[in-house]
């Protein structure tokens, strides 16, 4: 009889091995999926995971890698703080949208004044603030009225999407846009644009912010009392209370930090790669970042690596879509599968499999 036996302490080896095994398992299962769709599985897997880095057109894709990984890492770092403490902010997509709207609105308000030293920093602040305030709604409702933050943060995504549509069609619509939806393109407005810092690299301020977030996140979790409190509250809420951790404040801190980081990500995206506020501005980074956070084991360095891997599936997915006709939705299913395998294999970190030769008495 096979049974699971709880390990006295989580296995470190398995904790590192499970993400890798999950990626391998996803490649196998994804390959079957692609074969089922009538594609050559090996070719698709190679197009997604190999060609963007080392293939013939890699020079083009490599830049895209940073563009996609930046927001994913930035958002996931924020989410990981909350997930560690048992605070479930799953509405990062909404905070991302609100950050983009607030930041872009500030930039557009100054149009056509040219003063980059003033306008761009103000936009960054407004973006972070927008995401922060949007995340404070579930935060305050949770601490003040005991309302479930999972549901509120998620429902607010749909509200934010409506606000985005309203902004794109109404207040922020470009007066020169001939009636088309969408704001002015911020990339054509030098004081507000989030340009590439090194041409062709994909490096922009959002990616810089993501790297800073990784370093700060690592220092916070391993060296700072707040990081200790977060880990303590996640491991044992009761012990945390005895240690004097204020649970309400911790909830607000986690939600606020993740909201602000998602807001930053939104602002850097709207001022850079996306360029304008439009109805289809958000593409689900806020949700994919949840997978990134778990795949990175809620650890800043892990999230950095996971962010690049997820970015790779986006870019490789687009390439596979263009050259092999693999549907875009397949990549989304592929990403969801990855999370499943990860969660399933995680059992090995905390439990060990025992096979009893004979039934126990």
């Amino acid at each position: 009889m096979i049974r699971l036996e709880r390990r006295p302490a989580p296995s470190r080896a398995w904790a590192w091995a499970t993400p890798l095994l999950a990626v391998l398992a996803t490649m196998v299962a994804g390959g079957l999926l692609f074969a089922f769709l009538g594609k050559d599985p090996l070719l698709v897997i190679r197009t997604i995971f190999w060609d963007p880095i080392l293939g013939e057109f890699a020079f083009y894709y490599r830049g895209q890698l940073l563009v996609k990984a930046g927001p994913l890492i930035l958002i996931a770092i924020g989410l990981s703080l909350g997930f560690r403490a048992g605070v479930w902010n799953i509405g990062a997509e909404g905070q991302y949208i609100m950050g983009a709207i607030c930041g872009a609105a500030v930039g557009l308000a100054f149009y056509p004044l040219e003063a980059r030293w003033l306008i761009f920093p103000l936009m960054v602040l407004a973006g972070g603030l927008g995401g922060f305030l949007w995340a404070m709604i579930p935060g305050i409702l949770r601490t003040r009225f005991n309302t479930n933050e999972i549901l509120v943060s998620l429902l607010l995504v749909y509200v934010a999407e409506q606000i985005l549509a309203w902004m794109a069609l109404g207040p922020l619509r470009s007066p020169d846009g001939a009636g088309f939806p969408g704001s002015r393109n911020l990339r054509h407005y030098d004081s507000a644009a989030n340009h590439e810092l090194i041409a062709g690299s994909g490096m922009h301020w959002g990616v810089v912010a993501a790297f800073i977030a990784v370093i700060l996140g690592h220092v916070l979790l391993s060296r700072h009392i707040l990081g200790f409190n977060i880990r303590l509250a996640g491991a044992s809420p009761r012990a945390a209370r005895f240690a004097g951790v204020n649970p309400g404040l911790l909830v607000l801190t986690c939600l606020g930090a993740s909201g602000a980081l998602a807001g930053f990500a939104g602002l850097f995206e709207v001022a850079g790669p996306a360029g304008q506020i439009n109805i289809d501005f958000n593409v689900g980074y806020g949700f994919t970042a949840i997978i990134v956070a778990f795949l990175g084991r809620l650890h800043p360095v892990g999230i950095l690596l996971a962010g690049f891997l997820m970015a790779l599936t986006y870019i490789g997915g687009e390439a596979a879509q263009a050259t092999l006709g693999v549907p875009a939705a397949a990549i989304q299913a592929f990403q969801g599968m990855l999370l499943f395998f990860l969660l399933a294999l995680d059992v090995m970190t905390n439990y060990r499999v025992r096979i009893d030769a004979r039934a126990r008495a």
């Binding site: 409702l141 009225f145 479930n148 998620l154 429902l155 549509a165 999370l339 995680d346």
Partner: protein, 310 residues
């Protein structure tokens, strides 16, 4: 603006139908949560139900087969969640989220060739004699079969949880899985059955959307209804009849805002479209602010992982 164009009889009739997907999904989730499992994948199961039901109905020409396929496909997806959380002991919140993300992806993949097709019509069920009553007849007794089914589900779940032995065991498992296990009841079996049932109802709800209400297949067409169903279970404080009330409240708001949009009222369309979500949040706040009342009927083991050690 012409508010006179809003016909109250049609409004109530539309409300009953519009609430049905959420009511079905919420009833399923109620049973799941009563067994102590928090499945956040309702949205994913609904959308997979919507697409599977649509495909089966289009291919077979029979809406009934479509509904069956929807329930079966969503139940299979739910069992995936069940195996992960119950056998492999994964975190329920994370796995539920994963189920939703996976469901949204796989559904748009499955539905690729089905965009823009009309499904076979599923006729209203006119109850003889009753449907000919003036005013009340068309409102209450000339609805789609699923509307009656959803009401039967409410009554059935209420009766099952309250008056049957198996319902009592399910509640015991949800209150204290250690105690239920010690008494010799199968925690795993009970929970897997509840999860599959919850999936089937969510799938039916999804198919109700794609085959009856819209009726068409579009990507992401559930538009957060699965999450609202989850909120309504909390709103109903885990009681079947209050969940019914919550679902109809939500249905009422969404039908009313659509009518106001059509009537051309001077409120931005986007504000009207977000109103169902805002009102859901509002009622959630009102219900949960009274901590003792909100938690009184909540299953004690909700969301906790069960591992029979030793």
């Amino acid at each position: 603006m012409d508010l006179g164009s809003i016909n109250p009889v049609l409004l109530i009739s539309a409300l009953l139908l519009a609430s049905t997907p959420i009511l079905l999904a919420a009833m399923g989730e109620l049973v799941v949560e009563k067994s102590g499992v928090l499945n956040l994948g309702v949205e994913g199961m609904m959308i997979v139900g919507a697409v599977s039901g649509f495909m089966a109905a289009v291919e077979s020409g029979s809406p009934a087969l479509g509904f069956l396929a929807a329930a079966a496909a969503a139940a299979v997806l739910a069992l995936l969640f069940g195996v992960l959380t119950q056998v492999l002991l994964s975190n329920q919140v994370a796995t539920g989220l994963g189920l939703t993300l996976f469901g949204l992806g796989i559904s748009s993949l499955m539905g690729q060739g089905y965009v823009g097709i009309r499904p076979p019509a599923s006729p209203r069920l006119d109850l003889p004699v009753l449907s000919e009553l003036p005013v009340v007849g068309p409102v209450l007794f000339s609805q789609h079969a699923l509307v009656y089914l959803s009401l039967a589900a409410v009554a059935g779940v209420w009766w099952y949880l309250r008056s049957t032995r198996s319902g009592l065991i399910l509640r015991a498992v949800g209150e204290s899985h250690e105690a239920a296990h010690a008494l010799g009841y199968s925690v795993l079996g009970t929970r897997l059955a509840a999860i599959a049932f919850g999936g089937a109802l969510a799938g039916l709800g999804g198919a109700c959307l794609s085959l009856v209400i819209v009726p068409q297949w579009t990507e992401g067409m559930t538009a957060g209804r699965g999450w609202i169903a989850l909120a309504i279970v909390v709103f109903g404080s885990w009681r079947a009849w209050r969940v019914l009330l919550g679902a109809y409240l939500f249905g009422g708001v969404s039908v009313l805002q659509l009518n106001l949009q059509a009537a051309g009222i001077a409120i931005p369309v986007e504000l009207l479209s977000m109103s169902p979500y805002l009102i859901t949040i509002l009622v959630l706040v009102i219900i949960s602010s009274d901590k003792r009342r909100a938690q009184a009927n909540a299953p004690n083991s909700l969301g906790r992982t069960f591992h029979a050690s030793g």
